[in-house]
Amino acid sequence: MARRAGGRSPLGSIGLYAVLTVTSAVMLFPIFWTVSTSIKDRVDTFRLPPVIVGFTPTWKNYSQLFEDPTFIRVMANTIIVTAGSTIVALLIGSLAAYALARAPRFRGRRPLEVSLILLRAMPGVVLVVPLYDVLAGVGLLGKMPMLIVLYAMVNLPFAIWIMTPYFQGIPMELEEAAVIDGASGAQVFRTVVFPLALPGVVATGLFVGLLAWNEFLLPVVLGSEATKTLPVFISGFVSARTLDWGPLAAASSLAIVPIALLTVVMQGRLVRGLSQGAVKG
């Protein structure tokens, strides 16, 4: 329950609004700056004092990106690896989450919990350095299917932890009723449990998808030009001899604006799901 506003003085209210407005502005400014830079002409980008409003917007930076076949492929790769790995993580993760939700004790539960926590807690490089060696040895470096399963694996802990409480929340009686009606275990899962857990699965898919969309270390080390994703593409601007911030800002905007919008639109669900998953993850 939120505290009632009754006891607040008008001055207090103004202060409250002022603090929150300033904080919100600071939090949002980098996003605003990225987007506004992306629709500026090169010359406006470097103008001092900085041009905050009142420049002539240009879509040149975006059209330049979308005319580049490389960029089209980058976007396609990002979408493929994000969607593919999310589906795999949800399939594998929902089964494990169901098991963890329903069986308090089973052979391998403790080792599984330990593994998931370590996978979540270990710095990515620890895994990526030997993986690079292993994958190079078997010729799987820079292959899209490999990246998809790797993405799915690193996001498994998160997927499992977010979904477990959703499965726990499904009343056991419903499953039992289905069993009385003669359904098999798999049918129960498919026709009763899964549909009820679907909102949770969808929310999980959202988070896992976002994590996959943002993933950087895996594709930059283990990927290739053919599998280049958006974060890798964007990071290329740091070392490229480019004197132009426009396309960079446009590519960055394309990466972050969908996420920002998603956060705004799906806020309620995000808050609920994340606070559940984040507690475990």
Binding site: L16, Y17, L48, G108, L156, I256
Partner: protein
């Protein structure tokens, strides 16, 4: 595991499952706080044990696909990493790798460079926590007030959380530019001298911390507001009726009740702070010099800049060992969270 995974054929007897199922209902989906993950059948009478056994057997099967992923892609590489750390494999060196015992640990782990990286990592972590938690707590309390437009503010503060670190890192880099960046320009407007944000050691450390905390603050605020919302109001009201001041209520009633959520959030931040990589990679690459070279950045440099696979593996093994105790911390914190 194959023995345990033997099929449990035949439909389960409905009646008995029913009674076992109604023992307790699991944590409700809508509750924002920590959710218990087990304990459902803890009090089941011995006669019902076979139900638990059947569940256990199918659980083994259901978790099998997860193991199919973890074994070749998590445990195998870790094993290879341990193995490589005792050799001298370097990409581009003409000779075959040979066994060198603990040499890599001596030269690369027991070196001032690794110590420095550890200090830098912990420093960024500590500075970040000191920034995120007081600020996050204050914002969570403000957002907990009943007011018009609360949702708008909350959304604004949450937006940075899930943004692509690489993309925002690059834009911050632009904003930090000492000559052309907007941050120094603002400082100039305020009559303050410009700062060479990414060029001088301390400013660079703050610059990295600030970008990381900018995103982390969203998570902290999210967790704490969710925690506050789940607290019962009666103890607070009772304390207020007893004449406690706002600060006293917060200090002696709200804060203790919120402690489990704070601890969980703290743990998440400690884990993520220790792993910090993307933002450092984009903003400074660990520079100037080694001023922002975190352990992940160092390991990356040794592996992929010096091409010294074995030396990087040795560093990786030590980072792995540092991570192991987190499991126990995790268990303690989640037990605590579940108890509340």
């Amino acid at each position: 595991m194959t023995a345990e995974g033997a099929p449990a054929s035949g439909a389960p007897s409905a009646g008995s499952v029913s009674s076992a199922g109604s023992v307790s209902s699991a944590g409700s989906v809508s509750s924002a706080g920590p959710v218990a993950s087990n304990g459902r059948l803890a009090g089941a009478p011995p006669a019902r044990n076979w139900i638990a056994e059947r569940r256990a057997r199918s659980a083994v099967l259901l978790t099998l696909p997860t193991w199919v992923f973890l074994v070749p892609m998590f445990f195998l590489p870790l094993g290879v990493g341990i193995y490589l750390s005792f050799y001298d494999k370097t990409l581009g060196f003409p000779m075959e790798p040979s066994f060198v015992g603990l040499d890599n640990y001596r030269t690369d782990v027991l070196s001032p460079v690794f110590g420095e990286a550890l200090v830098v990592t912990l420093l960024i972590l500590a500075l970040g926590l000191a920034l995120q938690f007081p600020l996050g707590m204050a914002l969570a309390l403000l957002l907990h007030q009943q007011m018009r437009g609360r949702g708008v503010f909350r959304t604004a503060i949450l937006v940075p959380m899930l943004l692509t670190p690489v993309a925002v890192g690059l834009m911050w880099r632009f904003m930090y530019n000492p000559e052309l960046g907007i941050i120094n320009w603002w400082l100039g407007v305020l009559g303050l001298p410009g700062v060479d944000w990414l060029g001088a050691p301390w400013p660079a450390l703050f610059a990295v911390t600030f970008v990381d905390s900018w995103q982390a603050l969203s998570l902290v605020v999210l967790m704490l507001t969710a925690g506050l919302a789940s607290l019962p109001t009666s103890p607070e009201e009772a304390a207020r009726v007893d004449g406690a001041s706002g600060w006293q209520v917060f200090r002696h009633v709200t804060l203790p009740a919120l402690m489990p959520v704070i601890l969980v959030t703290l743990m998440i931040r400690v884990i993520d702070g220790f792993k910090i990589f993307d933002v450092v990679f984009i903003l400074t690459r660990g520079g100037p010099g080694t001023a922002t070279q975190t352990v992940s950045m160092l390991d990356y440099n040794v592996a992929f800049t010096f091409l010294a696979t074995s030396r990087a593996s040795a560093i990786g093994v030590v980072l792995m060992l540092i991570t192991l105790p987190i499991y126990f911390l995790w268990r303690r914190v989640s037990t605590l969270a579940e108890r509340s």
